[in-house]
């Protein structure tokens, strides 16, 4: 079954990591990603920019708000798509990720519809290809 693993954490804390701390966390996570990818269990994964970069369109009146939709203490900072046999396996992965990246929570939610879309460049055109 496909699950979305939604990563919630305190944005203040995560964006207070020094570059070394950030690199260390990403390095530990990478070991897990690579193994999961090799096992064919890992789909798209992404890390979001801070909520300060977000804008929210309220559908009821079409108003565009600055910031994320939900003002919560912990914010949605990214997610993975994983292919697991069951919740237990997904929880196992989440526990492993927790060791690599403590703090916050993982919400594990089964996926209803999965559309992989077209492959898109990691360096979007608007940012200018170097």
């Amino acid at each position: 079954m496909l699950y979305a693993m939604l990563c919630y954490n305190e944005e203040d804390v995560v964006w207070s990591w020094t570059k070394e701390q950030d690199d260390a966390v990403m390095g530990r996570l990478n070991v897990i990603y690579e193994r999961l990818a090799a096992q064919g269990k890992l789909g798209p994964a992404l890390r979001l920019l801070p909520t300060t970069a977000a804008a929210t369109l309220r559908k009821s009146d079409g108003i565009v708000l600055d910031g994320p939709y939900a003002e919560t203490k912990e914010q949605l900072l990214g997610f993975y798509v994983v292919d697991c046999a069951d919740l237990e396996e997904a929880l196992g992965i989440a526990r492993e990720l927790t060791v690599a990246n403590p703090g916050g929570a993982y919400e594990i939610r089964p996926i209803h519809l999965y559309l992989p879309g077209a492959p898109i460049s990691e360096t979007p055109q608007a940012v200018g290809a170097a």
Binding site: T18, Q21, L49, P102, V127
Partner: protein
Amino acid sequence: VTDLAWIDAALTAARPQAIGALLRYFRDLDVAEEAYQEASLRALKAWPKNGPPRDPTAWLILVGRNAALDGVRKKARETDLPDEDALSDLEDVEAPLVERLDGSQYRDDVLRLLFICCHPDLPATQQIPLALRIVSGLSVRQIARAFLVSEAAMEQRITRAKARVAKANVAFQTPDAVERSERLAAVAAMIYLVFNEGYSASEGQTRGQLCEEAIRLGRLLLRMFATEPEIMGLNALMLVQHSRAAARFDADGEAILMDDQDRGLWDRKLITEGLALIDKAVRHARPGPYQVQAAIAALHARSPSPAETDWRQIERLYATLEIIQPSPVVTLNRAVAVSKADGAQAALELIAPLEERLAGYFHFFGAKGAFLLDLGREREAAEAFDRAIALANTAAEAADIRSRLDRIRAEAKNKLHRVGGRSASASLDQQQGDIQ
């Protein structure tokens, strides 16, 4: 087990809010700072054992407050003369601390704390160290190193700043809208000062640290004032400028002008975030100096090569900046854009009236020389370059101009070809930091 690095980051993240709240209770920067220090020590003991609390900031405030109250009580007992005023005051503040810390209170606490650090009574040389010490929690030694002064001198500077702030009587009641927006503007300027201190630092480590700290404070400010386009602009400006960090210096630590930088080294993640913020800011249709400067920086960031830069648009943005924040340096920057878009003659005419006011400014003569050179007026160009060299702030600046002079002289010698070489290119990259 709670990762120590996580605790470290949590303490850093909580610091502005926690000290801001403690300052509201105790109305004394030293007491607030000591209380926070004590709470942090207890956190380092308690959190690895018990796991982090649900709300680390509230935990730190509560523990810090209790620790400071204990201290006051102990002192009162030792002296055997209970200070009635102090005690009744403290009883008062205890009551509302069934911490349902609401967001707006936090926001004013942090803003007040930041504002105290950039109080108009403080010169910039004291504002930045005070903010780095109190808000960011850098050690005096780290700050001293950043400013290339001794630890003792920096300690003294910070102590003096604190004493001034204590006398300044910053209002502790909730600020009204006008006061809040004034504080916000002062704080934004202070954060940009911190950034520029890092941006212009000659030593790599300091540079990165101060720039990153300024960006962190900028994000904090934006999270609290999420709808302020100028705060978006400030963040975007810092992010895009900092994106060039890895490309701005060569292996020997010499500055590389923007035209010569390897754009592959520009940090696309920072640029993306900066562009996202500019997009958001533009929607508010309330332009300001940070937004305009950010938009200029973004045009450079978007351009795959120096030759493809949209100079026409940059020229228009500088013209806008001239209106909202007139300064000869802004006009000089516009002239550089004009020289690229319309040619050197127009640029030269634009800067002619500035010569008196910028007579001591390296970049003025660098740009003037480049414009003249473009027009084939080598002798006058050489004169301007000579003046630039005399005014150079760094060896790299002087070396850059000297290489152009050498080229002029070589050309003059063989007189075979028309003078070509680099077209007018004052170092916009360096100048940007001067505009405020």
